[in-house]
């Protein structure tokens, strides 16, 4: 039994300290996962907190032998999806801009800013499922099999979504650069 499994077992037995350790381990990945999706820092922090609370409340239903990380990511992703749907229903835009770190070189900053703008534009055009797959694959460094577990689909679907997303991003980036003066 790994260290994480032991922590989960202890948390299941009512050990709050063990669950706190799990929170400390996963709070950054869950927060950034939410932030990439909802693009709102306050909402991302709230969603991360809610994801851990839901995980704690549902710990009794957690299937022993399954990966805690996969389970936690699934909870967080569902919360993010619900949040985005609620926001879309209310017709709200992202309320807060992400406070990006700045570069020391102004020219570099300008180029980086332009590239980021194109990337962000391309990112926004991707379907939700593809965005999720790309986030989990590239930004979270998960394997296809793991992503399939989180998203509840087949490895083939994950691969197809990932390949489509990258192909589309490549095209959009190319078009964006062609249009640049």
């Amino acid at each position: 039994m790994g260290g994480e499994d032991r922590l989960v077992e202890r948390a299941l037995a009512g050990d709050e300290g063990a669950f706190e350790e799990l929170v400390r381990t996963y709070q950054a990945p869950i927060y950034y996962l939410a932030l990439r999706f909802v693009r709102d820092e306050q909402a991302a922090a709230d969603l991360a907190q809610t994801a851990f609370l839901k995980a704690f409340q549902g710990l009794q239903n957690f299937r022993r032998g399954a990966m805690f990380k996969t389970w936690l990511y699934r909870i967080a992703i569902n919360l993010c999806k619900n949040h985005l749907r609620d926001r879309a229903r209310k017709g709200l835009e992202t309320s807060a801009e992400i406070d990006l770190p700045s570069h020391s070189n102004p020219l570099k900053e300008l180029i980086a800013h332009e590239d980021q703008r194109i990337m962000l534009q391309a990112w926004e055009q991707l379907p939700e499922r593809q965005r999720l797959t790309v986030t989990l694959k590239i930004q979270e460094g998960m394997k296809y099999r793991e992503i399939a577990g989180v998203l509840g689909c087949s490895v083939g679907t994950v691969k197809a979504n990932f390949h489509h997303a990258c192909k589309k991003m490549k095209e959009i980036l190319q078009e964006g650069r062609d249009e640049m003066p």
Binding site: R24, Y32, Q57, D99, Q116, M169
Partner: protein, 222 residues
């Protein structure tokens, strides 16, 4: 391996999803193929664009606050006494109200259908028997009438004149050939002291009283 197949696995190559053998094959092809190397560079750029998406860096204080927030909320929820916790399912007024209304409606419908809260007021079919008894009583009563006015000629419902015997026959025919509903009508009219045949019109008060006494002795159900 052909270029087309190589390009199909380049993303898996970057993402370390290929087996060692396949990876070696791709490495070998890339060394010899500048076009596939260019395709790889393009995909790598997309990959890096995703991977290095700038995100705000958070300090230790932020993470500490997040952890504290989660744990405080967990402790708060745990400290709620069991009797204050919301049970798994408690039907609220939104459920209870329509359920109660439906139950009352069903009970009322059953009461109305059965003719009373404890079942039918009269046993099933009794009304029919009463009607038949009434018919028999009428026939007997009319047949036994022996006082003079009724023995004399009287008017029938159609305006003709008829003897007592004919009245008996009419009464009998009422009970046998007329519809039960019509007979009931006649009886009702008699009870209401109406005289559809005009036979009681010529009776004196004493004779009329005698007639009703005779009728009630023959017909005790009224």
């Amino acid at each position: 391996m052909k270029c087309r197949r190589i390009r199909g696995v380049l993303l898996d190559y970057i993402g370390a999803e290929l087996s060692a053998t396949k990876r070696q094959q791709v490495d070998g092809h890339l060394k010899a193929c500048p076009d596939c190397r260019a395709a790889l560079a393009q995909l790598q750029e997309v990959w890096n664009g995703f991977a290095h998406q700038p995100l705000p860096q958070k300090d230790e204080q932020f993470w500490e606050k997040l952890t504290r927030g989660v744990m405080q909320e967990i402790r708060r929820k745990r400290s709620i006494p069991a009797h204050e916790k919301k049970p798994f399912f408690v039907p609220g007024w939104r459920v209870l109200l329509p359920t109660t209304a439906a139950a009352i409606a069903i009970i009322m419908a059953v009461i109305i259908f059965r003719g009373g809260p404890w079942g039918p007021l009269a046993p099933a079919g009794k009304d029919q028997w009463v009607t038949q008894d009434e018919q028999e009583a009428l026939v007997e009563a009319v047949s036994d009438l022996s006082f003079a006015p009724l023995a004399q000629e009287a008017q029938d419902p159609l305006g003709g004149e008829m003897t007592l015997q004919e009245v008996s026959l009419v009464a009998e025919s009422l009970s046998t050939s007329l519809q039960q509903a019509e007979t009931t009508d006649v009886l009702t009219q008699l009870y209401n002291e109406e005289d559809p045949y005009g036979q009681l019109e010529g009776l004196t008060e004493g004779e009329l009283e005698e007639f009703y006494q005779l009728l009630s002795s023959k017909y005790p159900y009224s």
